[in-house]
Symmetry: C2
Subunit: 245 residues, 2 copies
DNA sequence: GGGCGGCTTTGATTTTGATCAAGTTGCCGA
DNA sequence: TCGGCAACTTGATCAAAATCAAAGCCGCCC
């Protein structure tokens, strides 16, 4: 399914090697590479670092448009709800992803931390000023949008056409490939989402998710400790179960 | 669900009022508004107009990255397939949408016409040259990407959390609001997709789609002639059935 | 250490939508 | 006007996942 291919991840990653935000000691998810030293300093001066607890909204429904943020560590869920409460997680963001919507146009999205998450945020107006000054910055934001679009479309195939078993395996594969992007695909990791969150991501119920995880365990596709820690003996096997070519 | 809000559609639409491509007598989906007369002429000279028959690929898997195109009339399906043939339509594009992927990074997407479709296409290199010359052009492409991202995420909620009945109603609502963007929401229209296509868009089977359409007809939510022509007596009613707030 | 509450698992049953299998309808060409 | 074919509908049955209902498990606070 290549939600994010290795190559793509590297493209994004390589570009932010040089510049580190002085204020929060973090790379700004690739946005800094295109800025001058002065602009970087400007950005740093206005950025604030915050730790967000699980379940806490990073930026509320409409507020999303008021600021931009870089994820330093942790995982953020982007979700949508129906009026009767049914919920769907429409995206996950991992460090060092960049969050925030260019050009106001709120899309009824809620962003909240799935686990303890550190972010470095700066106000919309600073960002907008920099966009007009640095020609390459919009290009970077554009690439981020295209990356998210690809991920969303890949996930649509999972939501619409895969079985519960394949969905759960696909989810585990995504986590394995994203949880620690520095080191590529992880074969052992902690799930950043509760069963309820996983269900909301997969369009399933908690019970079905639990049963499928149990089945994967019994079939020796994964090993589990504490219901959160997962070990994958064979990534090929997992991908095969996930329906990934 | 506001897959595309009226306002958003207008934003995109208003911006291309002034410029019409001389070669194909069509507006280039909002990309021309940002170009100078010379650049427009340049673009026109390289553009070719084509009619695509239903089922025909507009641009194949990898080729998508070789050219850009503006939809003059018709509907294009963007879809993905699993290795065993299961298929999911991940997006629909209507006139006057702009198609094509900036920066090569193929995402295994197939684009094919759902009905007779006229497009005006131009080669990647011309487009890329213009992007570097006209600063506003990338901005436009960026907005298009964000629009598609919003639509994809709205649809993920539909795929993951709605019932078959709500899915079908949501589909009809999308068609009603997109089929003739000039005139806003249509209360009578021809379905641009076959039952099989609808099923692939909704993550359902043909039979389920058919049964739900029958049910909507029996419940007087819609009227149907020839299995393709739909009349919606009350758009509010349809939206309510679709689970749209 | 004991109990409480949230998260997770497991089991029994029901429901929704898929699958299998005929029919219809409508269109097109002979 | 008559096949013939593809698209669509309808019906019967089946299976996957949802729902309803208890337990476990684990960490935390007293």
């Amino acid at each position: 399914m290549q939600i994010v291919t290795e190559q793509r991840r590297k493209d994004i990653h390589n570009s932010d090697i040089p510049s580190v935000c002085a204020a929060c000691e973090a790379r700004h998810g690739g946005v800094c590479g295109t800025l001058s030293a002065d602009q970087l300093l400007d950005l740093s001066r206005h950025s604030t670092r915050r730790r967000i607890e699980p379940g806490r909204e990073v930026v509320g429904q409409g507020e999303m448009t008021d600021s931009y943020a870089n994820i330093i560590s942790g995982v953020v869920k982007l979700s949508k709800v129906l009026s009767d409460g049914r919920q769907q997680i429409v995206g996950l963001q991992f460090a060092p992803d960049f969050m925030g919507r260019p050009f106001t146009r709120e899309s009824a999205l809620t962003a909240e931390a799935a686990i303890d998450t550190d972010i470095c945020s700066f106000p919309r107006n600073v960002m907008e000023r920099l966009v007009t000054e640095a020609p390459g910055l919009e290009h970077r934001l554009h690439e981020q949008a295209l990356k998210e679009l690809d991920e969303a479309r890949d996930w649509m195939l999972t939501l619409g056409r895969k079985t519960a078993q394949e969905k759960v395996a696909s989810f585990l594969y995504i986590i394995a490939t994203h949880i620690d992007p520095e080191n590529g695909t992880a074969t052992a990791f902690d799930l950043p989402l509760s069963r309820a969150d996983i269900a909301d991501y997969l369009g399933l119920t908690i019970e079905t998710v639990s049963r499928q995880i149990t089945k994967l365990r019994k079939d020796n596709v994964i090993r589990i400790e504490n219901s959160r820690h997962v070990t994958v003996p064979s990534m090929d096997r997992l991908m095969h179960v996930a329906g990934i070519d």
